[in-house]
Amino acid sequence: MTAATTTPADEKPDDDRPGARTPATGDPFDQDVLPTPPGATAALLRSLLAPRKARVTVTTLLLLLQQAVVQAGPLLVAYAIDRAVPAFRAQDHGPLIAVGAGYLACALAAGGLQFAFVAAAARVSQDVLLDLRGRIFRHAQALSVDFHERYTSGRLISRSTTDVESLRELLDEGLQELVTVVLSFVYISAMLLWLDLGLGGVAMASFVPLYALVRLYQRRAGRVYRARSTAIAAVIVKFVETMNGIRPVRAFRREAVNDTDFGALNHRHERTNGDALLEMARYVTGSRLVANTAVAAIVLWGAYRVADGTLALGVLAAAVLYLRRLYDPIDRLGMFLNSYQSAAASLEKIAGLLAQAPSVPAPETPRQLPPLASEHPGREVVFDGVRFGYRTGGEVLPRFDLTVPAGQTVAVVGSTGAGKSTLAKLLARFYDPSGGRVLLDGVDLRDLAVPELRRGVVMVTQEAFLFSGTVAENIAIGRPDARREEIERAAKEIGAHDFISALPDGYDTDVRKRGGRISAGQRQLVAFARALLADPAVLILDEATSSLDIPGERAVQRAMATVLKGRTAVVIAHRLSTVEIADRVLVMEHGRIVEDGEPAELIAGTGRFADLHRAWRDSLA
């Protein structure tokens, strides 16, 4: 949104060749239907509630008590009419006083318990949401770059906002509805049976068609809600894409076309949304019909029996009062099913996301890097028979062997699609090789835990993303515990100090707020400062100077020559100016190294690099 935001970064190893990745129509990623293992949704819900068993129990107890107190009302009415009235006539005020006191106690208890319940339930629900949000977030962060390239940010946002929101609705309202409904059913049925077995029995019988209705609704609504969840995710994706690309949208007058496209997606959501509401309407009508028929039948039969004298008038009165209440919660059951279906659809999607195993898994038994061999901070990098290809085939690196001794600066050049970026990403462990190993001082990258890995290897890419927060915070991403002087020193060394000082609040300028506009080149400098602060053994620069002007690039090179001295560096650059500081140059072509040597040696030769270098020198003329 701001000048500091990059486009949804969809960079992929530079790769011009076909078949690298086919967005086939059957791809679950395109349809937004990741496979959810059977039972995963329920397991997810269980695992969210299990740690809060005690609280859930207390909350349920509170609700049980509350319902018990509330349901005592009609009982007291029946008692008042059948007992208190005759007693009062006989000048015995005791029963009436008892009824009054009882009712008052019930009223107070009902209110107090309701308070306690709502507060307790909110606690459970908020804890669960906190847990779930955190899980989605952490899991998404743990998933590989490769996953993010396919899943799109919009969907991930949709998972952690609208989908979490629907679980919240279930927990906030739904759970209370369900417990209330079940309790009223059980409690009132028991009361009815206790008042009169026959009347109670008829009421019980009416549950059979109601159950069938509920099942039917559940089946139909489930389908609709799943469609709705997908539809809203599509809306969100389009929304985010437009807002993040607002400049080209405006400059190329995309507004009208976008309106149409968005309208279509929005309309699809509108349809499914309406479908969901209609399902609910059908359910409510059906269940009310059954309920009201049952009431009429029970009253008819009860009245007959009162007329026969086999049923007391007070009992009928109480039973009728209870009956109305018995069916009251049907609507609320509908509301529960509503939130349940919607939450189930969302949870299913979340479970599908959580079921994605990181394609770059954390090691089971992490290893430590060996202590540094010399006083230099660099480490040796070895590509040992590494192969890499994308899922749909098309190998980018056929078989790749390379040893970079500790402390060496290697420049990798080659045309677009030669596999340079793939090399960088394998070394940064954004991907794992499909065969072979990448070793850092003899340790396979796959055996290193993240903190250890990042002490070893850090990568600076072309797209220098800035996060909300101050410039200092953005640099401190390199090392969160860095002191202010260290941050400023890193900025100075890379030549970013001047422009940062000129910002309205210097290092404390919020990059998303007033006056915080930072140009692409400046952003790359901030990214460098980060890398400098991170102080890694191996630094990878992937087109990291593309937006810098020449003095900026020189400053970076000077910094690298001094600050990064002794570190191992892999520099990927289109500009051959970078090569001047390299100890060694690799020229890649179709995933293979075709030339390898010192810069001067290659320039003097007749190979591709000599050609490239000549072309570059000419361009400077």
Binding site: P8, D10, P23, A107, G111, L130, I246, T285, R575
Partner: protein
């Protein structure tokens, strides 16, 4: 709460449905209230009189009412199902439309997460509000009123007893509403912040991964979501309190009525049937009364959502610009005339980014724009298609002030290739052709692709139909940059603005693009932001931007010789002290 009235324009188209639904709901509730009366009549009449015929009649009547009630319930929902989805969708479409037309400066200020939470969560709240609280506040209000009247008619003393807590209840509700409003707003804003963090953590995933910072990122997220939880719990406590009050007070009143009623029945002043009916009515009112608490809460949240929605909708969109453009005075190219610019949200008193830029690019000429990192080159390019408004001065295209052109016309004349090549979720071909008004066909596409050396698209799985962008094949930075370039040249615009168009290309591709681009530039008026000599050489002349002004204009060779700052920028060598602004070349800046 008054803000809710602002929803009217969106609700208006479906008002007939919505009002009939409310009417139907009232009807259904009234039917529900009549049922206890029938019960009373049954108990007092046929049952007491042992009249089987009357019992049948009563039960039949009960059944009829039951059916009516059920059908009315269903009818209400059916009436609003589609219209309400439509209201939500149309509000979302309006928001999207509006956001697309807000000044770019607005988007600089607003994180898309905040915008998105308005377009999703807030609108869902509004739909729910229209579906339930709005109708049911009305319905329950009427139900309570009718119920009270029925109770008063049955026995006015008992009725008054039940009415007792009405005033304290209302007072509590008003207090509650005020407090809840504040917390609800806070919570919704925090959701927006959380959305922003999620979004950034995805967009910046490479940085996070590259530095192994997912832990600290997760910590930041945890803190924010922890704050949100705190706010939500505060909200819940308020809600719990109002629930407690709303449940207790009416129950107490009913209890009192029961005691008084029983005494009256015992005295013979009241029939048992009347008492049953009365209590039945009172109990039937319990739900409408209790529900007021959460209905108010929902309304409050809806009011906040409305506020948030209109916060964005009230922002003024860019005016489309004068429709009738003045006729071309003369063919005189692109001219900046004492252009000053400071970002509209810049702190007052800060130096403007551009402070008197004067530059003339002759028709058909291409001008390179060179300047140090952060000197305002990109800002200057954004002014030409009016992505930002000038603070003062003017820019003319062939003698016509860009402010006198409609934005549509202006942006048709000017094509831009941005520094960040953004592709949209669409086919490669569509992405390129969006530079035209659908007038260009296969030929133009081919031409543009070959100029940008983007023939790689033919090797993609579905050729030019291959989807790219957020939801498609991801391309490398260099590939995207070439497509953005193709997009800029495809419409053969009169004016071309290229912002560092070759930065991500390797040397060979760059050379090939340059060769092809030269042909395009031969007869196009162009401004090219350049960082390196190779790009500068595409242009006929070079302008040096420094300290917010154009300090030198000339050919590359001229400036290399005569301007120390330029030489420094182009070679990186520290050629003496930097001369900065006063380079003695100002006469070149016409």
């Amino acid at each position: 709460m008054r803000t809710l009235l602002r929803l009217w324009p969106y609700v208006r188209p479906v008002r007939a449905r919505l009002f009939s639904a409310a009417f139907v709901a009232i009807l259904a509730s009234c039917v529900g209230l009549v049922i206890p009366l029938v019960l009373k009549w049954l108990v007092d009449g046929p049952v007491a009189d042992h009249d089987p015929g009357g019992v049948w009649l009563g039960a039949l009547f009960l059944l009829l009412l039951g059916f009516t009630e059920a059908l009315l319930f269903g009818l209400r929902r059916w009436l609003v199902a589609r219209p309400l989805s439509h209201v939500e969708a149309s509000m979302r479409a309006a928001l999207y439309r509006h956001l697309q037309r807000l000044p770019v400066a607005f988007h600089d200020r607003w994180a898309s997460g905040q915008l998105l939470s308005r377009g999703t969560t807030d609108l869902m709240l509004l739909r729910q509000f229209l579906a339930f609280p709005l109708t049911f506040l009305l319905v329950n209000g009427v139900t309570i009123l009718v119920g009270v009247v029925i109770m008063l008619l049955q026995d006015w003393t008992l009725g008054l007893v039940v009415l007792g807590p009405a005033v304290p209840l209302m007072v509590t509700c008003v207090i509650f509403e005020k407090r809840y409003a504040k917390v609800a707003r806070l919570a919704q804003d925090q959701v927006g912040d959380l959305t922003t963090v999620v979004e950034e953590s995805v967009l910046g995933i490479r940085v996070i991964k590259g530095f192994g910072r997912h832990r600290s990122q997760a910590r930041a997220f945890r803190e924010l979501s922890g704050t949100l939880r705190g706010t939500e719990l505060r909200k819940a406590r308020l809600l719990a309190t109002i629930w407690g009050v709303i449940v207790t007070l009416p129950e107490v009143a009913i209890g009192a009525a029961l005691v008084v009623g029983v005494a009256q029945v015992a005295d013979g002043a009241l029939s048992a049937g009347t008492l049953v009916a009365f209590l039945s009515t009172a109990l039937a009112l319990r739900w409408p009364v209790e529900s007021i608490g959460f209905l108010l809460a929902m309304s409050q949240e809806a009011a906040t959502a409305t506020e948030r929605y209109f916060e964005v909708m009230d922002e003024g969109v860019e005016d489309p610009g004068a429709a009738a453009a003045a006729p071309n005075a003369e063919d005189e190219g692109l001219r900046f005339d004492n252009v000053r610019f400071r970002y509209p949200d810049a702190p007052p008193g800060s130096a403007p980014v551009l402070d008197g830029v004067t530059l003339h690019i002759r028709p058909g000429e291409s001008m390179a724009l060179v300047g140090a990192t952060g000197s305002g080159k990109t800002t200057l390019t954004a002014l030409i298609p009016r992505l930002y408004e000038l603070t003062s001065g003017r820019i003319t295209l062939d003698g016509v002030d860009i402010a006198a052109l409609s934005r549509e016309a202006l942006r048709t004349k000017v094509a831009v290739a941005f520094e960040e090549p953004t592709l949209f979720s669409a086919g490669v071909g569509d992405n390129v052709l969006m530079g035209t008004d659908g007038t260009a066909g296969e030929r133009e596409l081919e031409r543009a692709l070959s100029v940008a050396q983007a023939d790689f698209v033919h090797a993609l799985p579905q050729g030019t139909q291959t989807r790219v962008g957020e939801q498609g094949l991801s391309l490398s930075g260099g590939q995207r940059q070439r497509l953005a370039l193709a997009r800029a040249v495809v419409g053969q615009p009169e004016f071309l603005v290229l912002d560092d168009p070759l930065s991500a290309l390797d040397v060979h591709t760059e050379a090939a693009v340059e060769a092809a681009l030269r042909q395009v530039l031969a007869d196009t008026t162009a401004l090219i932001v350049a960082h390196r000599p190779s790009t500068v050489l595409l242009a006929d002349r070079v302008a040096l931007l420094s300290g917010g002004r154009i300090t030198a204009v000339g050919t590359h060779q001229e400036l290399l010789r005569s301007n120390a700052e330029y030489a420094h920028l182009m070679s990186g060598e520290q050629s003496g002290e930097q001369s900065g602004e006063q380079s003695g070349q100002e006469e070149g800046a016409r």
